[in-house]
Symmetry: C2
Subunit: 354 residues, 2 copies
């Protein structure tokens, strides 16, 4: 995490290798309420583990009255829920930071919405009986590797209170089919409202613990820090953001957009993990206009918005910004933290109208 790269130097090959493995959702994917399978963004810290579902077991251990060992059939036979949930990578938008640490070099495409099916985590925890001294629950994935010289399985913890939220799932289906290997087959944690790092994939162990978890991905990574010396505070819920489907057609390879003059319906999505989105505005050459926002009944899924723009020939700069029910609005200038996490800088889409 000590490698720095600046825009003047271009992009490091390490970043490029990550970009090719871990893909975003093409922004035109925002046209779908539910992101089609395979378009959902993906961030894998290490390799995709190879798991035999017939011998796989989930173990629940630690500060519980009765430990449990569950097969996939056991989990599938429990009460099931399907909910649409928008996930966003905590590093989304990171390439706007300059200079930045070498890490997953997202533009703005690390955002997607799937229909997740699973069983409530709280039901399983209640069956085990959480003991009074418990303070957190640690989730361990089967994926293992080295980061900052620390060898570890990917692990994250959640407070008991968060684990008791009824919408926190152990998910085994995505968009009505089995989880694909790259999304955590056979089972993953799903924590609606939080950035994606919390939703541990390839889950194999749940341990209830009596003190705060200090593993790498909790205590070192995924923290809002000023600098390396700052212990920082943990990244948690998704900050308010709106994105636009870039209108018109692209150039290859620059992706610059050309739009035909006339009425252009600009469309996009907006989401927030802490409170509902209440307003989306579209900026045209720096002037803001209210978009039409379609509030969705699904609490944890993005909403759609649209705005009809009278496009006149010439070069224009489009943007969009969302406001949540607590009055938070996306910033025009980002105050960056050390790892470029949780940013929600306003998107800018330069276009040429002809």
């Amino acid at each position: 995490m000590t490698q720095l790269v600046s825009r003047a130097e271009g992009v490091r090959f390490d970043e490029l290798a990550l970009a090719t493995r871990n893909h975003g959702m093409q922004l035109e994917g925002m046209r779908y309420d539910i992101t089609p399978i395979g378009m959902h963004y993906l961030l894998i810290h290490f390799d995709i583990p190879e798991i035999d579902p017939s011998s796989w077991r989930l173990r629940i251990t630690g500060c519980v009255k009765r430990g449990l060992e569950l097969s996939l059939d056991d989990i599938r036979s429990r009460p099931a829920t399907t909910i649409p949930v928008t996930l966003e990578c905590a590093g989304n938008g990171r390439t706007a930071m300059d200079p930045r640490n070498v890490g997953q070099p997202w533009g703005l495409e690390a955002i997607s919405t799937a229909a997740w099916t699973g069983t409530a985590l709280v039901g399983i925890l209640d069956d085990c009986g959480i003991r009074d001294e418990a303070v957190e629950v640690v989730f361990t994935g089967a994926d293992r590797g080295i980061q900052d010289d620390v060898e570890h399985n990917y692990q994250r913890s959640l407070s008991i209170r968060e684990c008791r939220r009824p919408e926190v799932l152990l998910a085994y289906e995505m968009n009505g089919g089995a989880l694909p290997p790259q999304h955590g087959f056979p089972l993953r944690l799903l924590v609606p409202g939080w950035y994606g790092m919390t939703s541990v994939k390839w889950l194999r162990n749940i341990e209830v613990v009596d003190r705060p978890f200090t593993g790498f991905q909790q205590a070192v990574n995924y923290r809002y820090q000023r600098d390396e010396a700052d212990p920082g505070v943990p990244v948690s819920r998704i900050r308010v953001r709106a994105l636009m489907i870039p209108p018109g057609m692209p150039d290859n390879p620059s992706r610059r957009r050309t739009v035909d003059a006339g009425a252009v319906v600009l469309r996009g999505r907006a989401w927030c993990g802490t409170s509902p989105v209440v307003r989306v505005e579209v900026g045209v050459d720096g002037v803001w206009h209210d978009a039409r926002l379609n509030r969705e009944p699904a609490e944890f899924a993005w909403c759609s918005w649209s705005y009809t723009w009278d496009a006149r020939p010439g070069a224009h700069r489009l943007s969009c910004r969302a406001t949540d029910a607590d009055g938070n609005v996306q910033p025009a200038e980002q105050i960056w933290n050390r790892l470029g996490l949780g940013n929600n800088l306003i998107q800018e889409v330069p276009v040429t109208v002809r």
Copy 2:
């Protein structure tokens, strides 16, 4: 296509934006005979088009006795075949070229195998009746954009002879489900044995023509050229190549591998679009050993191979190379063409054994 980038400068942001949109298959995906949905590599020149399948029609026009207009139901009611086919992007491995033109910056992961279902193209052409003056067939996709200042829909042509191969399909299913939007929904051409640029996605028109097609993606792009002045020759069938699943576990973000000492089963795949793969060798620190090759009955799908390596502590350099039935073997040094197409340079995987 005139922007050059050299390794010393790092990677251009244009390349990074393409890398994040168009993803490869994580190389550990070679463990699956059929690449799971969503892991299949993807190269989209422009945007993913939005297509309403109920109003979509395929038109067959040009030098035919009877033009045809077919709905998706019409196509699905025709005789169907399912075949496993390995596709590779013609630009796979391009980042090993230095300097190179700005384009899709693949490492080695633009390779996948899907089970494709569709109906034979030749059946539809025979129903239309190809007229004697016909020389080629032009396939037009719904995707449109600008490349090298040329605005066009993505289009490619094939000779009548190639179109008559029974395994050339109009495919509407991938791995048993409807084509995902990003892979060409509702219908794509599938030309087994050829690099992926031939298998036109979002197909909407098939035109039988009486002279060679000179569209951008045929006459300008996808050609083996020495330099910009050289008209070159068209890229066609896939050259022989073997790849290895990088063993051990990765570092994040460098992807460097650490392997435990002892017997390590190295596994991978090999394929060729012109003749069968007859030999795969594994290189350990420059010494070649024959791998065990499992010849597949499927003519157009990759074969698996394995080699058990006695890994001793220290730094090692692993590689693999394949030979086809015509005696072609992968090169240790690549002679690059202008656009870095059709290369099959030997893969090298540096590892540290502990």
